[in-house]
Every structure is written in structure tokens, then in C-alpha cells.
Symmetry: C2
């Protein structure tokens, strides 16, 4: 099989059971696509999402699912038609006669990469036939503010205006409010109780309420169902995890809970490694159960490591984005990446809108190992023409392991995580609908 021209010197490991997994996924394509079609009849897809995958050679699994994806700028230009078509489906479902859409981005307005993401997102949305304007949660935005990008593109960010139960801009009343802000700082009062407009993703998708452990609990069920469909061990697509709910790294509270969960996950991994003949040294990743993946992350090979954390390590784990204190952690099976781009460790990130894979890229880090978190300063991105390859395996090239076929598997596993997110959001919907204790606490100034 020819290499995809968009992937420079891409090397993918092609050993062990993954080849078998890929072949099973390819062989079951009609059944898989039909299964997804039926699942999306039962469950509303999130408006969009991105999934970090790890391909260990012997297993291929999601390790994180972002419901406010901020890297649309990293997708190759040729993925746009698919993205527009998918966004059209989403808007049609939410608000068929939508004329106006309000986009609420992250508060930090100086990061050029993020602003380029916003610009790309605006373009996709405009092309679906809605007027898109941008409202800011930042108190610093008190009047329409023009943002210019290095590319020459520009857009205007405006202050939000709340009128009773509706949110908009001074002269703009939207039907749909699209969040590209993960609400790490809590649910702003201005977003609470908007019962006349559609807000997507729903408020419970924000980190004020969302927990990674809820996501992976939903994923457990999705992965089990899917594994039955294609007749595989669900472990091949699903990382083990545990959770601790009352941790205080500064005060060393909850250390024993974390340590025992590490032991538990490592022992289950050892069993599976034996079963599948994997010779790697198992490790787990400890990370904040709520909050952005890139912060508060630790790789651990032995439970004793968390018992003796020094002050610097504890400080690093104790807070995530917007200075939030970490009190809940997830202990997740580490899935090493066997992929590299130009010799550097790489992991695929798959972007989806509505039910569709719309693109993706490799996150690459030249200074990190294959068992480390790559979502860290120094990373860079290599776009993939995923739109083609994730939807379009070459079934005639029966040799699994070829790049386009591997990419189809990526698209399938990413969509499993998307489906899990949908189920997760259904199960947590009541935490916003009845704004009792947890939400009241989550609503910020």
C-alpha cells in the first residue's frame, strides 16, 4: 500500500493482535456502520468532539475525549467539505430554521493558535448557512473588539448581553449557542437557566460538572457492546481505570486511595499482558478527573511512587487550568504509543462533528517517550487527510496494517468514544436540569 502523502515518514507498529483487530474491524465494516447508525438513533451525538488515541501495537484505545475541541486549525484544508456537511446535519437537528448562532470561545484571547481555531470554526459554521457572531465570557471585553490573525483573517469578539431567559449580543438574538469553552472555571451565571435557546455542548459537558471517570464508565459499556459485535476482547480497545474522589495533594489526603487504585489497575493490566503476550512494563497515568488533559498528569509504574511525592510533584498535580484545585483523580491504564513521526513519539487525535469523523492530526513530541503524555509544551501537529482515510478504508487492499486501513480503525474507535460521550451527557443531564446542590456550587460569579 502506498503511504499517505500527508504523512511524512510515518511509522506505525504492525505487530501482534492489532493487525488482527484491524482486520476484524475492516471485515465487519457494514455491520459496524449499521451499528453506529442504530446507536445514533438512540443517542444524540455531541455537537463536536476530539479524541486522543493511543496505538500500542497490541491495543488501540481512546485516552481522552474533549467536548470543546480547540484544534480545528490543525486539520488540513481538504477536510473542510466534510466538516461543513457534518455541521449542517448538527444544526439541522438542533434548530432547523436557525439563522443566528452565537459562539462562545475560551476567555484567553491572545493565543494565536487558539484564535486560528476559532476562525476556522467560524468559517465552517458560516458555510452551513447561519450568521455566526462571537460573544465573550471575559469581563475585559466591554465592547466589540477586532481580532486580527497573522494569516490576515479577522473577526470580532463582542460582550454578551443577557435579556431575561435569553442570551445574545447587543443586536443579535441567536437560536443556537455553541460553546468552545470548557467551563473549567464553573458555569457562569450568564449561561444558567437559558431555557429558550439551544446550548451545545450542554452545560454538563463543562469541567464544572464533567468527570473523565463518568466518560470512561460509559465507554466501558460501549466498548463491551462493540467488542461483542466484532468478536474481540474489549480490553483491546479499552484502558482500565480507577477513581479517587477525595484527594488533596497538598495535604497528602487520599494518597492511599490513589495507591491502591494504581495497584489494582496494574494487576489487571499484568493479567492482560500475560494473556496477550505483551512484554511491556505496565504503567498507569494519574490525572485530574475534571479538567484539561494537559495539566495535572503523572506517569506511575509503582504505587509507592505516589506515596513519596515531593513538594514540586504535589504542586504540579494539585491544580489544573484556571487554578482549580484537584480533588478527584482518575487512574488510567497507560497505553504506550508505538507510532512515531520523523522519529518522535506521536499519537493520533481524531476530530468529529455530529456523527462524522471530519479530520485529524498526529500530536508529536520530540522530547517525550512513548509512555509519556504528549499533550505538553513543545508538542507540534502533523495534519492527516483523515477525512478521506477514516471514512474510506481500501477494503480491496486486504492486507491490514496499511495506513488507510489503520486510519479507518482510528475513526471507528474515536466514534466509540463519541458515542460514550453522548451516553455520559445523557446520564449527567439532571445535574444541570435541576440546579440543586452540585450545580449551585458549580455556578460561578
Amino acid at each position: 500500500m502506498q503511504q499517505h502523502p500527508a504523512v511524512p515518514h510515518l511509522v506505525t507498529a504492525q505487530t501482534g493482535p492489532l493487525l488482527d483487530l484491524e482486520q476484524r474491524i475492516l471485515d465487519a465494516l457494514p455491520a459496524i456502520e449499521r451499528w453506529f447508525r442504530l446507536q445514533w438513533h438512540e443517542h444524540l451525538p455531541p455537537f463536536y468532539g476530539s479524541v486522543d488515541l493511543r496505538n500500542a501495537g497490541y491495543k488501540l484505545a481512546p485516552v481522552d475525549m474533549n467536548l470543546f475541541p480547540g484544534g480545528f486549525n490543525n486539520l488540513s484544508e481538504d477536510t473542510l467539505p466534510t466538516a461543513v456537511q457534518a455541521a449542517q446535519n448538527a444544526i439541522e437537528r438542533l434548530c432547523p430554521d436557525a439563522r443566528n448562532l452565537l459562539l462562545i470561545p475560551e476567555r484567553h484571547t491572545r493565543n494565536q493558535y487558539y484564535l486560528t481555531n476559532v476562525s476556522r470554526l467560524v468559517r465552517i459554521l458560516q458555510l452551513t448557512g447561519v450568521e455566526v457572531r462571537i460573544g465573550s465570557l471575559s469581563e475585559e471585553v466591554t465592547q466589540p473588539t477586532r481580532i486580527e490573525l497573522a494569516s490576515g483573517d479577522e473577526f470580532v469578539i463582542e460582550p454578551l448581553v443577557r435579556r431575561g431567559n435569553r442570551l445574545g449580543l447587543a443586536d443579535f438574538d441567536p437560536c443556537v449557542i455553541l460553546l468552545n469553552n470548557d467551563l473549567s472555571a464553573g458555569i457562569p451565571r450568564v449561561l444558567a437557566g437559558l431555557d429558550e435557546q439551544v446550548i451545545v455542548p450542554p452545560l454538563q459537558a463543562g469541567w464544572a460538572i464533567r468527570r473523565k471517570s463518568n466518560h470512561f464508565a460509559a465507554y466501558d459499556q460501549v466498548a463491551a457492546d462493540f467488542a461483542q459485535l466484532v468478536d474481540i476482547d474489549p480490553w483491546l480497545i479499552n484502558p482500565y481505570f480507577g477513581r479517587c474522589g477525595q484527594v488533596n495533594f497538598h495535604e497528602r489526603a487520599g494518597e492511599e486511595c490513589v495507591a491502591s487504585n494504581i495497584d489494582f489497575v496494574l494487576s489487571r493490566m499484568r493479567e492482560k499482558y500475560r494473556e496477550h503476550g505483551v512484554t511491556d512494563t505496565p504503567y498507569v497515568v494519574v490525572k485530574a478527573d475534571a479538567g484539561t488533559y494537559g495539566m495535572g498528569v503523572m506517569t506511575v509504574r509503582d504505587a509507592n511512587e505516589v506515596r513519596g511525592l515531593n513538594r514540586k510533584q504535589r504542586n504540579k498535580m494539585a491544580v489544573v487550568k484556571e487554578g482549580l484545585e484537584v480533588t478527584e483523580v482518575i487512574i488510567q491504564e497507560g497505553v504506550p504509543t508505538r507510532e512515531d513521526v520523523d522519529g518522535a513519539a506521536a499519537e493520533p487525535v481524531v476530530y468529529m462533528i455530529d456523527r462524522c469523523v471530519v479530520g485529524g492530526f498526529y500530536r508529536v513530541h520530540t522530547e517525550r517517550g512513548r509512555d509519556e503524555n504528549l499533550n505538553a509544551p513543545g508538542m507540534h501537529f502533523v495534519p492527516l487527510a483523515f477525512a478521506g482515510s477514516c471514512n474510506l478504508p481500501d477494503c480491496r487492499a486486504k492486507a491490514a496494517g496499511s495506513a488507510p486501513n489503520r486510519f479507518y480503525s482510528y475513526g471507528v474507535v474515536a466514534r466509540l468514544a463519541l458515542l460514550a460521550a453522548s451516553i455520559e451527557l445523557e446520564s449527567t443531564a439532571s445535574r444541570v436540569a435541576a440546579p440543586a446542590a452540585p450545580v449551585a456550587a458549580a455556578i460561578a460569579g
Copy 2:
């Protein structure tokens, strides 16, 4: 603006009101896309379709709409993801739990181009997650027959098996039956009365019942509504037409009806030419009201031309595909093409699935003039990366007339014809639903 790399030496005329039309269409993009969204809430899109467009510089109009498109092989490979996504939408709407789809192609099984179209169509459909098998209306296919293509691809054509009110193959019971056969020879008995399965396009889309004049009557209304939306003269996107219902070219019956309609269309054209400052010599195209565009077509500049047809000319007009006698003709305003590819006259053909533009190509004829029918032996095809450009005008490049922006207009006008086809099929549905006189006559052995 840079030229699209897929278009070799493409020259598009950029004079007169069309630039203005393109600019209006670009400016109204959000309103247009929203309008289509609302229209598709009222009207079911045909499963697929292709539209022949003519770009005269001063006007851009559809001249034919094919509901059984046979040129999927002419689309560039990179249009596939969009096509799969669109087909997924269509199948989801028709039969959400569809597992099996039966494709019924044209009877002629030796044309390699057409067979490659079938192969491409099968690939698109399979990737949506249905099992696709192919059933033939040909009596010569009495057992599963393997078809091998020059590309190395292959597929099997099997005899149809009717069981009561269901149609399938010996061991295959489909939920959806997709016709890629225009039923020029009438509605086969084996297709009549299948009330348990979804047949798309519906039987009234076949030339046994369909009339071009019904299509363009529906298009009149669509074009008028759209023209109001973007504030243009509807003539800029709509060719005038007339119709004669009782013609017999062999016996010279109905000649006066044809001649007077030619006079009428030419006189209305002269008015519009004066109004818009067009200096071309007006001409009309006389063609069979039912049947394939490529046959039974005549270019006429003066009504007297049809009064003195010689035997050869009359024979040429008298029959279309499958030897059907022409008794009804449409007299359509001729729209000259101002586009050429490598110096040869060219016209854009836009392919759609469900509500989406999925690709297109230029039909090019080196031996025909810009006021002639290009759908004739000797034509060839130049694929366009339409999927990108038809959905993705570069709104920042405000200079209309650039290739991507022109292509957006093509996609819009093609979708207007698709919408007209949808309305046309609604209005003719009763001719199949109550199989009284017209259908009984249309049902062939």
C-alpha cells in the same frame, strides 16, 4: 485567485451580469443555505441526481436533470468522503436499520465506463454500512455473473427474484432498492406494486412517466422563489421552454405546434437579450420530453427549420434510447456555453446525493460548438474537485469570478434543479400510486 489544480487551462468567461449574479449569490450565502435547509424540510431530496449546467456569461442555468446519474466514475477520488457522508444521510432517512440494499443498474452490461460507474456507486454505498448486491432487469442474466473491469475491480450481477410483494435476489432480501436504470423501456412488471420496500428514485422518476417539461415547470417556481431571495431576474438562472404533446416526426404530425413554440420561445428570448444587452443570436433546443438527453436533440435558430426536415433529420429526432418513439417534445431556450477546457467547448455537470453536492466534472467536446449539445459521441470528461469548491466558496476573496466562487454558484443552481426534481416527483407520485391508465400503459412485459 489561483486556478484550481484539477482544472487544466480552464477558461471561464467573466463578462456581463453573471459576475453580478455570482456576487449576489456569494453575498447571500447564509440566506441561501438557510433557505435550502428550510426547503429540504418541506421536500424529500431525491436519492441522487446530476445536473447539466450552461454558463453563458450572462446567465447560468440547468438544461437537464438526470435522476439516475451514470457518471460517478468521472468524479475525482477525493470527492468520495462527501459522497459517503451524503449517502449515509439518505439511507438513514429512508430506512434507518437498513442492512441490505439492492442496486438495479442499466441492462447494457458491456460498457466499461458505465460498469465503472456501478462499481464506484457500490463502493460509496458499502461504506455507508449496507450490504450491496446487484440485480439485473436483463433476461439474459439467469445466474450470478461476474463482471471484471479493466481496473481489476469486479462485482457480481444476479437475476432478480420476486416473492409476492417483495423483490430481491435468490438469497437476499433488501430494505432499499436503488434504481440506476432510467426505465426508458417502461416500468418492468417485476418492479410494480412493491409496497413493502423503499424504491428510490420512485418509479415516476423513470422516463416511462417522467417528462422534462414537468421538471422545468417545477423549476420555474423554484427559480422564481430563489430569484426573489437574492433579488435577481429569474431569467438569469432559468431557460424558457415550451412543450408539444402530439408529435410524430415520421408522419410530420405536430410540426406546427413545434414551430409556434419555437417562435414563442425565441421572441421571449429576444426581449430578454435586449433587456440584458446580450448580442448573441438566440436559438432553441428541441428534444424529446421523455428520455435520455443525448438522443433526439436538435438546435434550431428559426421555426422554419422544423417545417422542412429531411428524412434523416426526422429519423434522428423520432426515436431515443431503447428505440422509443418520440411523441412529446420540449422546446428549450438554448444557453450557449462560454466555458472551454483546452480550447474545446465545455459544460459543468454537477453530481448530488441527498441534499449535497458531492462532485462534478466538465463535459468537453472538441468537435462541437458552444451552442451545441455536448452530450454526444466524442465527448470526454475532466473531473473537478467540486466537493471542496461547490460547498466552500472563498468568501474572503471578494472578487467574484474566481474559479472557486464560480463553482459555488454552480452548486447552488444545481441544487435548485434538485429541489425542482423533488417537487416534480411529489406532483407526479399519484401516477404510480394509483396504477390506472397512464401507468398500466407504462408497465412493460
